[in-house]
Amino acid sequence: MTAQTTSRTFNIDTVANAEATPGQALPWAELGLKENEYRRVEEILGRRPTAAELAMYSVMWSEHCSYKSSKVHLRQFGEKVTEAMKEHLLVGIGENAGVVDIGDGWAVTFKVESHNHPSFVEPYQGAATGVGGIVRDIISMGARPVAVMDPLRFGAIDHPDTARLVHGIVAGIGGYGNSLGLPNIGGEVVFDAVYQGNPLVNALAVGVLRHEDIRLANASGAGNRVVLFGARTGGDGIGGASVLASESFDSSKPSKRPAVQVGDPFAEKVLIECCLELFKASVVEGIQDLGAAGISCATSELASNGDGGMHVELTNVLLRDPSLTPGEILMSESQERMMAVVTPENVAAFEAIMDTWAVEYSWLGEVTDTGRLIIEWDGEKIVDVDPRIVAHEGPVYERPYHRPVWLDGVQADAFTASPAAERPADLREAVLDLMASPNMCAKNWVTDQFDRYVQGNTALAMPDDAGVVRVDEETGLGIAISTDANGRYSYLNPYEGARLALAEAYRNVATSGAEPLAVTDCLNFGSPEDPEVMWQFAETVRGLADACQELGVPVTGGNVSLYNQTGGVAIHPTPVVGVLGVFDDVARRTPSGWREDGQAIYLLGT
């Protein structure tokens, strides 16, 4: 199955055109760029950007892709790492996901990511594609995904909109994860009114690989071919960017651009198997999944992590919607796609594997030694950029922050300080209330909708505090993972809240019997433009980085999700922390709970 290309003639905005029409107005503000950012683009290019370049810069320099507000703080995760902590790290922060050595030649890669906003708009598909995205991150490291987890936060359980979100999100996570054959080995369900208009859907995936199978997202070796494979490119996720339709000057009205993405778990399952075959046959040099910012991100990251440049013919992209303009194709977030770099000798072998799995692919171009990312449309140059600047040298902000003025009042309002603490009758009521809280009750109404058995390696899952899966069937070598966060603690004291989240996840892994090795995190916060939120964020990162150093476990990767707020009111700062541990033999795992009569009970710790 080869690509039949769609060659359409737009009156496209070429580099030559941009040079000739310096005064042409572009919708940079609508695309989310700030004026200073747009001016910087002009300065870097020495001319105005083309419509396609504008599309690329706007998505790559968005908060989501560039970490422009969080970068200055996240550095601490690297700075506070000691040599000893790096002992088990094969790949650290910066790649799609970190890779941890677990011995015997085995390695593990894991990461947690958010899909909060899409899940509020369309709960089922938003949650489903959240799982799909994190799983592709894991595949692109060269690993076979072996399990997923899903830390969730919802609004008040009795709010009229909560049922829509809970049932849609839980069904979406199950619908996608179950269809991929990935056991769901744990997660969280928390209800709190602060998440009403902004539920948190974080998804964690973990994969295993042999050391020699690690793949990185880089495009090296001039002459190597660049291929896009998997689903076709549609207008998914570029609803808000329809301003770019103005780049097409043909008379036909552009069709609607869906802001929501619909997942196709079957396509992703086939993609997983197909990629694993590619890895086994050693036919890809570099590989990258397509997520946010789609082809813009994949081409610029692959090129910038490589040693040269890249040349791409965009009309070769297989489209689901033939009316897409070049800029839209570059921004599209269609799911279930991957991009790879293949040497010319391996092209035939690559195509044979695609054909076995009936996966569509198209050769887009090749790696060059120019140091430039050149994208053409029907032979006309529409993008000519330095990929490093697009991918890695976006704006960085030192956002102002200060301790919230309300915090002292909130901290003083403690239960122990209230007269209620002295009245046993009320205390009893408080305990009963706690036990009846939806946050404390059994979660099997959720977990029974997830497959925990598939792959046959699940040694612990719900209701245990950590999920445990076997990696090596012969030796019993395996891993444990737990994710934890407490938004209320973090609201009261973000520094301590982050430390406590790490400590809880660490304890859960340790009590299962595993040795904690590494950390991933998903930092869910309100707007970074609010100095009080920014302070919460800064304190959280400081707390987590300090606690990691004290416990001797490095952060290997994660995700920052900002702007989680409704009507100016931010969610509680919610740093979801995942800890990975290793077992020499999962037969030694210890389940939670008491299982036999007559056993003695001890309380350890302070």
């Binding site: 689903a231 549609g234 998914d236 609607k256 869906p258 929501v260 619909v262 196709d264 689901r320 919607d321």
Partner: protein, 86 residues
């Protein structure tokens, strides 16, 4: 009993994985005459007595609130059908 039919189809611009899977299977069983397939839903609501304008209005309301998800689907028809008719 009279029935009201409600047809719901995935929006044209939205990916339809079900239709895609079928479109892929048709040629494998020798049916090569089709360029694409979309799979939607068809609901039949039975009415106990006559289909009044009020009941038809209820059906329209059900179609857009309960029977379809306006984010990804379109209601393409709400119509009374005769017995055994289409």
């Amino acid at each position: 009993m009279p029935r009201i039919v409600v047809d719901v189809m995935p929006k044209p611009e939205i990916l339809d994985p079900q239709g895609k899977a079928i479109a892929g299977a048709l040629p494998r069983i020798g049916l090569t005459g089709f360029a694409g397939v979309r799979q939607g839903k068809r609901f039949e609501l039975t009415v106990d007595g006559d289909v009044t304008e009020e009941i038809l209005e209820q059906a329209r309301h059900a179609a857009t609130t309960l029977l379809s998800n306006p984010v990804i689907e379109d209601v393409t028809r709400v119509e009374v059908i005769e017995e055994d008719g289409q």
